[in-house]
Every structure is written in C-alpha cells, then in structure tokens.
C-alpha cells in the first residue's frame, strides 16, 4: 500500500513563442532558435503521492491546476522536470469527450472506452455494468442527441470509471447530473479509494475536497505554496484571498465561487463588516425573524466632504431584497479627516425567507454612487437565513400572517 503512485519532481511548463512559427519548426531539428518569450505557467513542482492517498489541488483561476493535471496525465509534455506514474491512469478532465450525438449511448461507450485503450472484448464484458450504473433505461440504445445533458453526463461518468484505475484524476467533473447521481459518483470514487486507487482532484468545492481528500496542495501563480491537511490548506487559501482584498484588487473570486467586484476611489473603505445577534455574538446563520445588528466600520483614508453609507441585501440570484442609505435616513456625515473611523450599527429583524443572502456596501457622497464613489463592495458579507421555528413558508420575505379558519 505504500508504493509510490505518483512522483512529480521539478515539474515546469512554459508556453513558448517564437519570432515566427518557422523558427519553431527549425527548433525541432536542433537548429538552436531561442524562443522570444517563455511564459511559465507552472514551475518547480515536486511532490510524491503514496498509493491510496487522495490529494486535492486547490488554487485560484489561472494558478496552474488544470495544467498540472494535464501534465500528470501526459496530455501536455513538461518543459522541465518529470512525472513518474506507478500504474494505469484514468482522467476525467471533461466528461463526454468525443461523443458523437448521432450514435447511441452504447456505441459511444464503445468508442470512448476504445479511446481509453481498451480492447473490444473487455469493453463488451464491462458493458452491462456501465449500462446499469448510468441508469438511463431504454435511452441507452437511443442516439445521444436525444439525451438531456444530465443523461449524457451519466453515461460519460459511467464509462470513464468503468475500469478501476490505479490513479484517478478528476477535474471539477463531480458536479455531475442530479443530486442522486452525484452521491452515486461520490460513492464510486470512495469505493475505488478503498480498493487502493489513488485520487488526484481539482475542485473549487471546499466540501468535496474536505470529504474525499486526506491531503491538499495549494497552487499559487504556478508554484506549490502549501502541501498539508485539507483543512489547513483551505484556511490558508481563504486567508490568501482575504489578503488580496486589502490590496484593493478589483475583481476577486469570492469563496462562493462568484466573482467579487470592488470598485471606487478608495478615499473611504470598509474596514470591517459583521452580523451580530441580540446577544452580541457574531453570526453567519440567522433564524427567520431574528433581530440582528449589522456592524460596519468605515475608515476615511483622505479628507472627505460628505460621506453616505448605503447597503443592499441581495438574494442568491442577486435580486435586491432590501436596500437604503444614510442620505435617505438623514444621517450623512460631513468634513471627515484622514484616518477617521466611523462605526455604523444597523439593526433590523431578519424578516427574510430561508436562503443565502449577500450584502453589498457602497460608500459615496450623494444618494447615488455616480458621483464620488469611494468604495463599492459586492459580497461584503454573506450569510444564511434558516427557518428554525416558524411554520413552513416559501419566498424571500417573512410576512407572518394571522389566519382565521371557520369550518361550518
């Protein structure tokens, strides 16, 4: 069990551009043509994975995660360093690759498994199991063009995992189909792990990494900067993103996977924002109807003639649920000096329906942010409302009714 399943040493990948493509052609024949530009997307990556381990690769977009997986599978050739594999590799980089929509599910399975290098006889032997796992019934013998995308994914996943590999590489492909099939594919991967398959996966899904992996590697700008337990690495990753927020990077990827936009002149900035309950405890999960206090600390970075704080609460889809500002409430401030701190305490009952909400904060001088937009911060705070003790209801608003019923 302690054999090395994957050994990567000094791995680096550079994309090269030449003065002209003819120079590239000459370079294949040993004519020493130096590329004009080398763009390193990955460099100095070394790690070793023991058989049976499950390793998650995390990092922001463009950190080099997918490049690393492609280098490990062999789709890309490394510019320097080497990859040593201990057995058969199966990679799920994209499901449904090479499917022909005119062919039936069965014919596509033949083709896809053939692409994986299996002989006709062993595919035929595995066919009943693949068909059973996909659970699409009669559709298995219908053309793939008649499938829903979920059904296509089911077939694709079934064939990709039909033969247990020694190393399974998964790139974000696990959010496949409906919840039922997701659970099914998760348990197949767990089953593989029990039988000794090594897992290497890329995901933005924190829970997927934490439940499936026992180790994580954080990539940042093409380098492995952390290699530890998944929780430690995820915390470090979140801190890394938070640090960036203070460096006033304009478009960030929020931990929820959504892009977070922060714009403005930076003359005033949100220093801290948090939600508290009536007992003064910080909360992220709020009961329907519970009284809360939103505390926002703002710092004036430069002298500001007038400051208005606005906030808007949005639902999961970004629809405004409620928003106002201190101009409308007659509480704007004037003549702030550099460094001055302002504490806002906004109290309201959480009369919202269950779901995830985000708060955006705007700091400006007037009632709109069109003039003097000091800072506009999307996704400044994300919290969840849950119905813990109220009668079941739907919608984004909590409008408690009094219902009289007369039965005669």
């Amino acid at each position: 069990m302690n054999a090395v399943a994957l050994h990567v040493s000094g791995l680096g990948k550079a994309f090269r551009s030449y003065r002209s493509e003819w120079h590239r052609v000459l370079s294949w024949f040993g004519v020493s043509e130096h590329p004009v530009a080398e763009h390193w997307v990955l460099r100095g990556i070394s790690f070793s994975v023991a058989a049976g381990e499950a390793v998650g690769i995390v990092g922001q977009n463009g950190a080099g995660k997918s490049t690393l997986l492609k280098l490990v599978t062999g789709a890309l050739r490394p510019t320097e360093g080497s990859v040593h594999l201990g057995g058969r590799v199966a990679a799920i980089l994209e499901l449904g690759m090479g499917f022909n929509p005119e062919f039936t599910g069965r014919q596509n399975v033949m083709h896809a498994a053939g692409l994986m290098g299996f002989a006709k006889r062993s595919i035929e032997r595995a066919m009943p199991e693949i068909e059973a796992f996909a659970e699409i019934g009669e559709y298995f013998d219908e053309p793939v063009r008649t499938y829903s995308s979920g059904m296509q994914m089911r077939v694709a996943f079934s064939v990709a995992t039909a033969f247990r590999p020694d190393l399974l590489i998964v790139d974000e492909a696990l959010s496949v189909g409906d919840t039922y099939f997701q659970h099914k594919s998760f348990s197949r991967i767990r089953e593989f792990q029990k039988l000794g398959t090594t897992l290497l996966m890329v995901s933005h899904d924190k829970t997927a990494i934490q439940t499936l992996c026992n180790r994580a590697i954080l990539l940042e700008k093409g380098r492995a900067i952390k290699d530890d337990l998944p929780e430690t690495v995820m915390d470090f990753y979140n801190a890394l993103i938070a640090e960036k927020e203070n460096q006033s990077i304009r478009v960030l990827e929020h931990e929820s996977g959504r892009p977070q936009t922060i714009s403005g002149t930076g003359d005033a900035t949100v220093e801290d924002i948090a939600l508290f309950n009536a007992e003064g405890e910080r909360v992220e999960l709020v009961n329907v109807g519970q009284p809360v206090e939103l505390r926002v600390t703002v710092q004036a970075r430069n002298a500001i003639p007038r400051l208005v704080l606005g906030y808007v609460i949005k639902d999961r889809l970004g629809q405004y649920v409620y928003g106002t500002n201190t101009h409308h409430t007659g509480q704007s401030l004037e003549d702030l000096v550099p460094g001055q701190l302002i504490h806002y305490r906004i109290r309201f009952p959480m009369n919202f329906g269950p779901g995830s909400y985000s708060i955006a904060i705007a700091l400006c001088s007037r009632e709109t942010h069109l003039a003097n937009n000091y800072e506009w911060r999307e996704l400044a705070l994300v919290y969840t409302v849950s119905n813990l003790d109220k009668p079941v209801f739907v919608g984004t608003a909590w409008v408690p009714p009094t219902i009289e019923v007369q039965a005669q």
Binding site: E21, T73, R77, L93, E94, M97, K120
Partner: protein
C-alpha cells in the same frame, strides 16, 4: 519511432471501430448514406464527360473509335485523385479539428491519421468497385492489368498520408496552411492529366506536368483500367521511394512537433 507503431498496434481495435463508425455515421441520417461518397465522383465524371467529351475524345490517341473511352479515362484518373485529395484534405485539419480531444485525453495521436487513411482507403475501394460496375454497363471489361490497382492505391495512400500529415502538423502552428492547401489541391487537379491527355498540353507546360508525382500515378491508373497496360515500372519505383521518404519525413516531423502541438491547440 518505435513507440508510434506500438501505440498504433495497442489501439488497433479503436482504429478499426472508428473506421467502422465513421462509415456507419454516414448512413444514419441520409437515406443514401455512404453511397454519396461514390455518387459524387461518378456525377462529377459524368458532368466532365458530357461537357468535354465532344472536344476531347478526338484527341485521345488510339481510342478515337471508342465513344466511351473518355468517360473511362476520366473515371480512372478521378479514382486516383479522389483518394489523394481526400487523404490530404482530411489530414490537413485533423489535429486542429480534434484539438479538444488531444488536449484532454491521452491516446496515441498516430491513430488519428491512421483512421483517416483507413476510411479513405475503404471509400476508395467502394468507388473502385462502383466504377467497375459502371465499366461493365458501358460494355468495357478491364483486362488483367486492372490487378495493379490495389498496389497503386497503396502508393497513392502513402503519398497522400505523407503530404497530408506534414501539412496537418504545420497547420497546427500556421493556420494559413489550412487556407492555402485547398487552393493548391484545386490547382493540382488541373495540373494532372485527369480530364485531358498530356498530348493536348502545350509543349512548354509539359515538364511541369511530368514533374507532378500525381501524373505518374494517374497514368498508371489509366494504363491499368483503360489501356490494359502495365505501369511504367521505373517511374513507379521512384514514386514509391519518394512516397516512403515523404512518409518517413512527415512521421519525424510529427514526432518532433508532438510535444508542442497541444500547447498551441
């Protein structure tokens, strides 16, 4: 170079089933399906025959009395040309079209040109059989030298794959290649004695046409199918050598380019 062949051998089932499914795909949504592969060249030959027969038939040496000679002459040349141009044309865009597959899956890349070669050869065999049937209907029974055709097909295939693979690899890096080649192929068709005979070509242009390797092949086809003569063995020998060298060269380029190919796809 060895691993190219090992990979191809390991994937032989995949190559065969891909050729098969490519053929099946043609039949799925159109009634005549794969027959179109035969109908197109036959129809093209019929059009040429109709338009040019009156002008040309008198100029076919030794066949003045045979009214149908021109049609047979045309079909022989087109049989050769359609194999060559199909292979070159498909190899040209092979890697670009399959870019996503190459980027995300690991399989021996040599299988792709082999699938093209296999399916083009199969199409061409069908066309050959169809032409024999047409010959029969026209009352022309080819002689024993028609047995040269399978060998000639293999030579044409080798030449086509050699040229096509080289261009296909270059097209990955320089996409202009993909635009230029179809035009050059079109020109090549007219610089090969397919619809005309060498004897009608002005003296000044003859060396140009003789230098075209496809001229040798097309002549050999015409000899075998129409005139019942064996091909010019010496010229054919040179051609085989050239095709093999070209094939070797393109395999070397393919192998050298492979590591960088995925980078730019």
């Amino acid at each position: 170079m060895k691993h190219l062949f090992v990979g191809a051998w390991r994937y032989r089932h995949f190559i065969l089933s891909s050729i098969q499914s490519e053929f099946r795909a043609r039949f799925i949504r159109s009634r005549l399906g794969g027959l179109w592969m035969i109908i197109h060249p036959l129809a093209q030959a019929a059009i040429f025959a109709l338009v040019l027969a009156e002008i040309m038939s008198a100029k076919l040496p030794g066949l003045v009395n045979d009214k149908l000679a021109y049609a047979i002459y045309l079909l022989s040349g087109m049989l050769a040309w359609s194999l060559f141009s199909e292979v070159v044309g498909r190899c040209l865009t092979l890697f670009v079209d399959n870019g996503n597959l190459l980027k995300k899956l690991v399989f021996p890349r040599i299988t792709l040109p082999l699938i093209v070669a296999g399916s083009a050869l199969f199409n061409n065999l069908l066309l050959f059989l169809a032409i024999l049937v047409v010959f029969g209907l026209l009352g022309h029974v080819p002689g024993v030298h028609v047995l040269w055709i399978p060998l000639l097909m293999l030579i044409t295939l080798a030449l086509g794959v050699g040229v096509g693979l080289l261009l296909g690899v270059l097209n990955v890096f320089m996409r202009d290649v993909g635009q230029v080649v179809p035009v050059v192929l079109q020109l090549g068709f007219w610089f090969t004695p397919i619809v005309y005979t060498t004897s009608v070509v002005p003296e000044a242009l003859r060396p140009l046409i003789a230098a075209n390797p496809m001229t040798t092949i097309v002549h050999a086809y015409q000899n075998a199918m129409l005139l019942d003569k064996s091909p010019d063995i010496l010229a054919l020998g040179w051609l085989v050598l050239m095709a093999l060298l070209l094939l070797l060269g393109s395999l070397i380029v393919f192998r050298r380019a492979s590591p960088e190919m995925v980078d730019v796809l």
